[in-house]
């Protein structure tokens, strides 16, 4: 019993330790909960963002078509009796033929109503008709059934973006058009189809005819120029700085500058491009060539920094072994160090390119933010890129462009996800641990 006080002391200590432990464990649990909540919040926001974009954008991928019966009237389409493609394209009044047939079927009263009827169809309809006739000249004189694109307003009506219940004065689709629409629908003449034109045409001011292909080609050409310029230059700079350059004040200065450049706002590179490439070298405006050069400047620091980091991660033992076997410095780098560092360098390059793909600000200065219909044929043609196309559509007054904007965002996101996923894949596949 003599040691009773000490047991009391010990149990007191134990009590304190236990309480302290509880407190520390509670703190740890709290910390974990914070982490989980933060991740949940981030996922929630991401889901919300993706959800709004997809729910707004998926209607851009399908489109309303209307079936019409058209009398291919010889007097309108081939007044001279000639049916070769050239004459049909130049002289054929396909719009007239379409309107005549529509009027005969739906019987609008007066010019005002006739305009309303014609406004239900896209201006693309006459081109569809023209192409059909050129392909089938033997059908001239007969009546054909053909599916043509509906106008954007009718398309929006089908998709529910234009409500039927608003008073007529404030509705883009008038009562009379609604009646015609319902009649067409009852006859099974209205159909929604996959919007293949969205992936085949360039920009347009008519939402139902606007496509993203021109911007995709522009982005591809721009990225190609960026890759061709930035990758070899960035690689050479990284290898030289890491493997060959002496460590002195000058190389330190260069290193600081490269790190600085990586943090420069992208618009500054655009100003540089305007001053140097456009005004001094007189390269063409709005060209993917200049866009690619500007973005290459922007991407270079990223490639150099990630390249140097991956070169540094190759263990010195690899170099020493190679030197030990009598390899020259050049051989050490090109046979051993560079192949081992390549997955890391490629990852850095792809991430840099993905950032360049989403860039608009520097392109504003060199004239790539422009309305361009023709699909660019080469890096010196006028062209725009995907993020710029999104920006331009977001700013257009027509209702139909709202879904086109989100649709283009989805396409851009798919490209970005593919690029980033391939970066992750490359790293996982070729990564070596020492």
């Amino acid at each position: 019993m003599t040691d009773a006080p000490s047991t009391v002391l010990i149990s007191g200590q134990r009590e304190r330790v236990r309480r302290g432990l509880d407190r520390r464990l509670r703190a740890e649990r709290r910390f974990r909960i914070y982490g989980v909540v933060a991740i949940l919040l981030a996922i929630l926001m991401l889901l919300f963002l993706a959800g709004t974009i997809v729910s707004k954008g998926y209607p851009a991928f399908y489109q309303t078509w209307i079936e019409v019966d058209v009398l291919l009237d010889e007097d309108l389409i081939a007044p001279d009796g000639k049916t070769d493609p050239e004459t049909l394209r130049e002289d054929g009044d396909f719009r007239g033929a379409l309107i005549e047939s529509l009027v005969a079927r739906y019987k609008p009263a007066g010019r005002e109503q006739e305009n309303l009827l014609v406004a239900m169809f896209s201006t693309d309809a006459e081109r569809t008709l023209q192409n059909f006739t050129i392909a089938n000249p033997d059908r001239i004189g007969g009546t054909i059934s053909i599916w043509v694109k509906a106008s954007s307003d009718i398309d929006q009506l089908t998709k529910g973006a234009i409500g039927r219940n608003a008073p007529e004065s404030g509705r883009k689709v008038k009562d009379l058009q609604l009646r015609w629409y319902d009649r067409m629908e009852k006859d099974g003449r209205i159909e929604t189809r996959f919007n293949s034109g969205f992936f085949a045409t360039g920009d347009s001011r008519e939402p139902e005819q606007a496509g993203i292909w021109g911007a995709i080609v522009g982005s591809f050409l721009t990225m190609l120029v960026t890759l061709i310029l930035a990758f070899p230059v960035g690689l050479a700079a990284a290898v030289y700085l890491e493997e060959f350059a002496p460590k002195n004040r000058l190389t330190d200065l260069i290193e600081v500058n490269i790190n600085n450049l990586a943090a420069v706002p992208s618009i500054v590179f655009g100003l540089l491009g305007l001053a140097v490439f456009l005004n001094f070298f007189e390269l063409p405006r709005s060209a993917p060539l200049v866009g690619g050069m500007v973005l290459a400047l922007m991407t270079l620091p990223t490639i150099i920094i990630s390249g140097r980091a991956s070169l540094l991660a190759v263990p010195p033992s690899v170099r020493e072994a190679a030197f030990g076997l009598g390899a020259s410095r050049m051989q050490v780098v090109s046979h051993h160090v560079l192949p081992l560092a390549m997955p890391g360098i490629l990852t850095g390059t792809i991430i840099g390119m993905a950032r360049a793909l989403g860039e608009t600000a520097p392109l504003l200065m060199i004239g790539m933010v422009a309305f361009i219909v023709d699909i660019p044929g080469g890096p010196a043609d006028a062209s725009t890129v995907m993020p710029v196309q999104i920006y331009l559509w977001a700013d257009s007054p027509e209702r139909g462009f709202v879904e086109k904007t989100s649709g283009a965002v989805i396409v851009l996101l798919v490209f970005l996800v593919v690029m980033n996923a391939s970066a992750v894949y490359l790293r996982k596949k070729f990564e070596r641990r020492w």
């Binding site: 404030g170 060539l289 200049v290 007054p397 209702r399």
Partner: protein, 347 residues
């Protein structure tokens, strides 16, 4: 690896060489106002699809930026046409002439600037004086002509004018870089400012101060800069029925099921009223052609003709469907014939 690097470098050099070759241009280049952009692009697209020429490339640079590029000189790297939502200034014209540029001027129609609110609440009737009193940075004390200028104390529309609803003032509008904002400041704000004789008198003494007082917009939160995107303003108005928004007529026209235009000085912003120039907050839209380039770059003359035709800018033209408000008959006739002869602009 060495070969890859060398190959890529050679490729890059070849690419740069190819660009040097592409000096001549076979495509019309257009710059200028973002307000004219939606109309010019429609004309360009139709022109490209129906003629043998390439579709002109149109950049939206703003009126001032466009005229700066346009008057910079002659040659393929300068634009052929610039759009403007205001007339060319004397100083800009002189710069053009100094650089040997011959300019032809075309007016295509009008654009109205509207104040609009959500259809969920009632239509608002304002005067330009109300707009000024609601949004100016400094207003005369207790709204008396000649009163001392004080920071704007008005919290609700009722404070501005007892006939207006008792709702907090909240107006969403474009930022100062926008041409729409310039025109709103000049036509609506200054228009209301001028109704005070004491403020109008400042113009003679101190032009700079006059502009500051009459065009200065309050910065205490009643005016919200909502960005250049007018679609966004329409969406925000839908979410907040008490707010008003400032944007171009074509956006009102496209969103009539969601928003309504406020009546200004007793005139509702309708197509007819803007066309007849009864609606006070409206401006003219122009484009300018570099005559020296006609014949050098294919398609300029034909594009101008396609634009200056009844099919495009007439009362039943396709641009009307896009929200353009056509010129009155006689003026339109003059400009359409000018589209064929391209007369020199004299200032």
């Amino acid at each position: 690896m060495k070969h890859t690097v060398m190959f890529a470098t050679v490729g890059a050099l070849a690419l740069a060489g190819a660009a040097g070759q592409a000096a001549a241009r076979d495509q019309v280049r257009i710059v200028g106002s973002s307000t004219v952009y939606p109309f010019a692009t429609v004309v360009a697209e139709r022109f490209g699809k129906s003629s043998k020429f390439k579709t002109p490339v149109i950049e939206s640079t703003g009126s001032g930026g466009g005229l700066k590029l346009f008057c910079a000189g002659l040659g393929v790297k300068t634009p052929d046409i610039t759009n403007a939502s205001r007339r060319i200034k004397k100083s800009e014209y002189e710069r053009c002439t100094k650089n040997g540029i011959k300019v032809a001027e075309f007016k295509i129609g009008y654009d109205g600037i509207v104040l609009a609110n959500s259809k969920k609440s009632g239509r608002i009737e304002l005067s330009r004086r109300d707009i000024f009193l609601a949004l100016a940075k400094l207003v005369p004390e207790s709204h008396k002509d000649g009163g001392k200028l004080v920071p704007n104390p008005n919290k609700t529309w009722k404070d501005v004018n007892p006939a207006l609803p008792n709702v907090a003032i909240k107006v969403l509008g474009p930022p100062p870089t926008s041409g729409t904002r310039d025109a709103f400041n000049e036509l609506a704000m200054e228009g209301g400012c001028k109704t005070f004789k004491s403020l109008k008198a400042i113009k003679k003494q101190d032009k700079k101060r006059y502009k500051g007082v009459c065009r200065g917009i309050r910065e205490d939160g009643a005016w919200v800069e909502a960005g250049e995107n007018d679609n966004l303003i329409v969406q925000k108005l839908e979410a907040d029925p008490n707010a008003l928004g400032v944007f171009g007529f074509s956006f009102l026209d496209q969103n009539r099921d969601k928003v309504q235009g406020s009546i200004v000085d007793g005139v509702p912003p309708t197509f007819e009223n803007i066309s007849a120039q009864k609606y006070p907050v409206s401006r003219s839209l122009f484009f300018y052609v570099k005559k020296n380039h006609v014949g050098q770059i294919p398609g300029i003359r034909e594009y101008v003709r396609a634009f200056m035709s009844r099919k495009a800018i007439g009362k039943r033209g396709y641009l009307v469907g896009k929200g353009l408000i056509p010129l009155p008959g006689a003026e339109m006739k003059n400009f359409i014939s000018a589209g064929k002869s391209l007369p020199d602009l004299m200032m």
